[in-house]
Amino acid sequence: MCAGEPPSPANSVRFLLDGEVVSAPDLPPTMTVLEYLREVAHRTGTKEGCAEGDCGACTVVLGELTADGARVGYRAVNSCIRLLPTIDGQELVTVESLQARDGALHPVQQAMVDHHASQCGFCTPGFVMSLFALYLQSESPPREQVLEALSGNLCRCTGYRPIIDAAMRMGAYPAPANWSREAAHSSSHLAALRALRRTQALKFAGFCAPRSSDELATALEADPDAVLLAGGTDIGLWVTQLLRDLTSIIYIGEVAELKRIRSDAVGITISAAVPLTEGWAAIVAAYPQLAELAQRFGSPPVRNSGTLCGNIANGSPIGDAMPALIALGAQIELRRGSHTRQLPLERFYLGYQRKDLARGEFVVSVTVPAPRAGQRLASYKLSKRIDQDISAVCAAFVVERQGARIVAARVAFGGLAAIPARAHATENALIGKPWSIDTIESAAAALAEDFQPLTDLRASSSYRLQAAGNLLRRFYFETEGSSMPLRTAEAAAGPP
């Protein structure tokens, strides 16, 4: 519970839906947005396909005032794992919202109809909403942008071609009466959202959303067993898959200080409530080599809800952010009560599901050091599917050279151990050696000293180790340059 918080009359979740303020009191704090839509509001257009944020049938769009209150940021999210109290103060847009009063379909919908882009139709509302979010962003999105926008939506019927075509042509339709790009940012929308702003924390039985770091620290110290909730892309699954009862939730998404990104000479500091979308954008701005990793991290709806610090605090052995962050020497800041401390990220992970995190302590931010001259970086992800998959192996390599000699090397992997971890033997086989294929080969051989990976559904132990070595070789080949492509994506087919 938020200690010391005065009782507030406004203890019900309020959000905007089709221009009306919806007040949803007396609901369990673990109710998902999807559950609310389907079972409370009886708006059944939004579908449940998996209840774990992996199929996109439940996609809805959330509108949120930007920090300066001047615009509305719209983004697609998975309603199946998004807890309803976390959309307090926002606008909820569902597939039913788009059609004009006279029944005219929105351009996104009409393009889908005209291109025969629905077959069974069950995934369609989710696709429509992902495309609607894209429509608000982009007049005529190129194919690559469309593929990225759709990477969290599964369709089992069409083969996607007609959906991609619809997406690339939806911009050519006349502006709709309802939900045009202009209307989405109209003054009435802004005013309606401003009117929902709170001055005091949303708080009701089992849930509170502190509004400052101090409030948060106090609340968590007072209730150290509370679940600390950010985007919920993992905790949502505790609810929908593990069916856990969460008796006390402290939501950090209303803490303004924790929504900041700071860039300075030291590096980029990303605070705990920053969604992955913004967090990755800041990292990629400094490290363009990580663009592919960022794009393949979850899917847009997952990245729009989930946070980088949540990924870190969760500490999964297969979290895709950690190898790169560890290899770059990222530091995290932890806080408990009024006490804060810094820790190298790699030291945060003690063992499987064990972290250097005290009761009542939370991750405040992560700082990624600024790029250094002469530094060579790559991070690679291996999975059965390119988009929205969990890696079998995720590798990151950071090497600094003076002339032909390697003076520093940091190598980190996910998927090879119970925690995301550095490969010290491999690093030692690199440091002080000449940058050559012989050095790489001996370093690859040293991987077996660093890791004894598991066999599971994603890959066998032997594949993980073999592929990890080959990723090190790929890093070398890419650094040296090659006249022939080194990635499948670069090998375009074509007429000879």
Binding site: G49, S118, C120, Y160, L382, A467
Partner: protein
């Protein structure tokens, strides 16, 4: 001529799909006191239930009742062929995920939470989990079948070249986006209304009636649409519906049983994984002289549809090739895993994968292009044209399709370019393959090749169409409505298609075997023609014209010199006491099948197609990417070119998933670990190739008298994806010396590909 794809009618529900207004079973408003169900499932693969303590589950909040095997008043079975599928396990569990009981509670979550609280103790028994173990133990769900033509042993012994090999083929989860669901609503006098997401309402009706110890006329099953089926909702829905009905009977209240994704994937059947050991004899040109194949599939713990699935695998082992001397032995293995079931292609794809690998290995052994070996073995037009099961291939267009496609896709030029690339490129290897499809259309069980329709013309001239087929996204309702609109000369908007309803059209077959538009289209046409005939007669009687002077066009009826609206004629006819309602019925002609002898004409006709795929393979990681596909597919004269194109593209990509990224992974205890989209990876939008040319074959009419000379298109395109697996094989082979055979199973996951590359590099292929 306008592009037939551009002008094709939209899916009848497209406007509802995109606006969230299309109602699926889970969207139907429930009676106020309705309950929600959840299954409790087995945690082990094989064992006896020592204790089933439901008290902790019953004590959970919101729980109203729990049903177990002894609560079933009738037969505890949902198996349609053999009665070997218990609704609730009764003492013995035979797979991890098997239903033990079902809870009815006040909410979906309350029911799921309660189901997990039951305390179950087992006495474990040894489990047989895979095909090799089942073969070793002679563990079968059905007797082994053997089909022989000619003298395979003798010819094989004399063949100039011989080769042995093994083909390993994985299974596939349907991953329909809408999981299984049924709603059972008690009616007066012991009747039960069921809303079911099912491809087979009549079977749900029968099996629910048996479970409730009632009769077929006591149970009504309705389905407006499914959110995907792909064969996964052919036999499996009866389990969910029967459990919901038993709970509804026990509580006297409506019960909705919607199973969550993980339970769905653990509990319900999938595509059969297969294994084949072969020995082939061939000549120096690659022509097969004799072939012996041992074909074995993992059926799971019960028969389900494994008999006909394996029959179809056996019958499609020829694909498009003449097998003069052949023996195929087909084992239907019993394992302690989920009972595998129908899935788009129904065993055909697995059979075809076997022969395609054999031809590829012959070609690599001879050092020639696989396409030339395929050509060498195609069925002839006038000779070499009888299948191993005795059906003459009368409609062979495979030569035409393959030649045109190879030319359009520049196969020979690209073959050379890729060879040059692979020589120059150390890491990224490319591969190319062209594979054909010939797929038999009809249920191999002749009985099922029948359909009924019930058509009403109302006195305002609007039409309500009912037929026995179900809509799962394949566009059946649109196509059949088009048929009726065509017969009456009405716009499509004048035709409304009702939910499929066992109370309207009885004794229907499953919407399966690609046959639904063939069967239901003809049945609806018969009904429309019966009513039209009466309207013509009425017009003749009223206006004194001859029948040939009455024509239906553009919503009007042209009667001699005058024309009136269709509605006006309907109104006249009604007043004159003419019946404006008719049933229609159709049965497929020409087909017959002697199951015991495995001979006959099981198929009305064949559908054909071919695909050329080009891939890039990363030899460091085994990752693959489909770069380009060119497809030419035969849909006869399409009923709806846009729908048929959609089936072709969608079937192809679903097949690509089966053969590349979709890996079902069981642990050593027989528990499936890939039971959600986080772990089971179907293709995403990025997996559709950047370069794709998908065309229908010049709208060549079906030689047989099908509805408007169209061809079935539901299943055949899935098998176009075999070209992708073979393109990957080609790229893998390029990593080794010529003549080394890649050991590449399906699915070709990055791990499988990297392992195969390592093996060809060591030069120890088959």
């Amino acid at each position: 001529m306008p592009d037939p794809v551009e002008t094709a009618p939209r899916h009848e529900s497209a406007h509802l799909h995109v606006s969230g207004a299309a109602l699926y079973a889970d969207d139907i408003p429930l009676p106020a006191d309705a309950l929600h169900g959840a299954f409790g499932i087995s945690g082990i693969a094989h064992g006896r239930i020592a204790t089933l303590d439901l008290a902790p589950a019953l004590a959970m909040p919101g729980v109203v009742a729990i049903a177990v095997a002894s609560d079933i008043p009738g037969e505890n079975n949902y198996g349609s062929v053999l009665h070997d599928d218990p609704i609730f396990a009764d003492g013995l569990v035979q797979y991890a995920g098997q239903p033990l009981f079902a809870v009815a509670a006040s909410s979906h979550v309350a029911a799921r939470k309660a189901a997990r609280q039951a305390r179950v103790e087992y006495q474990p028994l040894p489990a047989i989990l895979d095909i090799r173990a089942a073969l070793a133990a002679h563990s079968y769900v059905l007797p082994t079948e053997r089909l022989v033509r000619g003298n395979p042993d003798e010819i094989l012994a004399r063949a100039p070249r011989r080769l042995r090999g093994t083909v390993i083929i994985g299974g596939q989860d349907h991953f329909y986006l809408e999981g299984h669901i049924a709603i059972a609503i008690p009616q007066e006098d012991g009747a039960m209304l069921i809303h079911s997401s099912t491809q087979h309402p009549s079977e749900v009706q029968q099996l629910v009636a048996h479970a409730l110890a009632r009769h077929a006329h006591d149970v009504t099953v309705q389905c407006r649409r499914m959110g995907g089926g792909f064969g996964g909702k052919e036999t499996q829905p009866a389990l969910i519906a029967a459990a919901a009905a038993v709970l509804a009977l026990k509580t006297g209240r409506a019960v909705k049983l919607r199973i969550d994704r993980d339970t769905d994937m653990l509990m319900t059947g999938k595509r059969h994984d297969f294994l084949a050991d072969y020995e082939v004899g061939f000549d120096a040109t690659g022509r097969i002289q004799a072939l012996r194949v041992m074909l074995a599939s993992r059926c799971g713990y019960s028969a389900d549809l494994s008999g006909p699935v394996n029959d179809r695998a056996l019958m499609h082992l020829d694909n498009a090739y003449f097998l003069e001397h052949v023996e195929i032995v087909s084992h239907r293995c019993k394992t302690h895993t989920v009972s595998n079931t129908a899935f788009r292609g129904f065993g055909g794809p697995q059979g075809m994968l076997v022969i395609e690998q054999i031809l590829d290995e012959i070609a690599r052994t001879l050092g020639v292009d696989a396409l030339s070996v395929r050509h060498r073995n195609f069925y002839g037009i006038d000779s070499r044209n009888v299948t191993h099961y005795g059906q003459m291939v009368e409609d062979n267009v495979i030569h035409k399709i393959v030649e045109r496609l190879a030319d359009d896709a520049q196969y020979p030029q690209r073959r050379e370019a890729i060879a040059a690339w692979n020589t120059a490129s150390p890491v990224i290897k490319r591969g190319l393959a062209l594979t054909p499809v010939k797929f038999g259309i009809s249920f191999t069980s002749t009985t099922f090749n029948q359909a009924g329709a019930l058509l009403h013309v109302y006195s305002d001239g609007t039409v309500l169409l009912n037929h026995g087929g179900t809509e799962m996204g394949q566009g059946l309702f649109t196509k059949v409505a088009q048929v009726v609109a065509t017969e009456f000369g009405l716009p499509l908007s004048a035709i409304r298609v009702s939910s499929t309803d066992t109370a309207k059209v009885p004794n229907t077959s499953a919407s399966a075997a690609s046959s639904s538009s063939d069967l239901n289209g003809k049945a609806a046409q018969a009904a429309a023609q019966a009513i039209r005939q009466r309207l013509v007669q009425h017009a003749c009687d009223s206006y004194g014209v001859e029948a040939q002077q009455v024509r239906f066009r553009d919503g009007r009826v042209f009667i001699g010199e005058r024309n009136i609206g269709f509605g006006e004629l309907a109104q006249h006819a009604y007043r004159a006491r003419i019946s404006l309602s008719s049933t229609g019925y159709y049965r497929t002609p020409k087909i017959q099948w002697d199951k015991a002898a495995m001979r006959g004409r099981p198929f009305f006709y064949y559908a054909y197609g071919a695909a050329v795929s080009e891939v890039a393979v990363d030899s460091l990681t085994g990752e693959t990417q489909l770069l380009r596909v060119d497809i030419l597919h035969d849909a006869g004269t399409p009923l709806n070119a846009a729908i048929d194109l959609g089936q072709t593209e969608g079937g192809f990509l679903q097949g690509v998933g089966w053969l590349t990224s979709e890996e079902l992974w069981w642990d050593d205890d027989g528990e499936l670990q890939t039971h959600a989209p986080s772990t089971y990876k179907i293709p995403t939008a990025r997996d559709w190739p950047a370069q794709a040319t998908v065309r229908l074959l010049d709208f060549e009419p079906n030689r047989e008298d099908t509805i408007y000379r169209s061809k079935a298109v539901g299943e055949p395109p899935l098998m176009l994806a075999i070209s992708v697996l073979h393109a990957i094989r080609d790229a893998v082979a390029s990593c080794g010396a010529a003549g080394v055979l890649p050991e590449l199973p399906a699915p070709a996951t990055p791990e499988a590909v990297l392992r195969a590359i390592s093996v060809v590099r060591r030069g120890v292929g088959a």
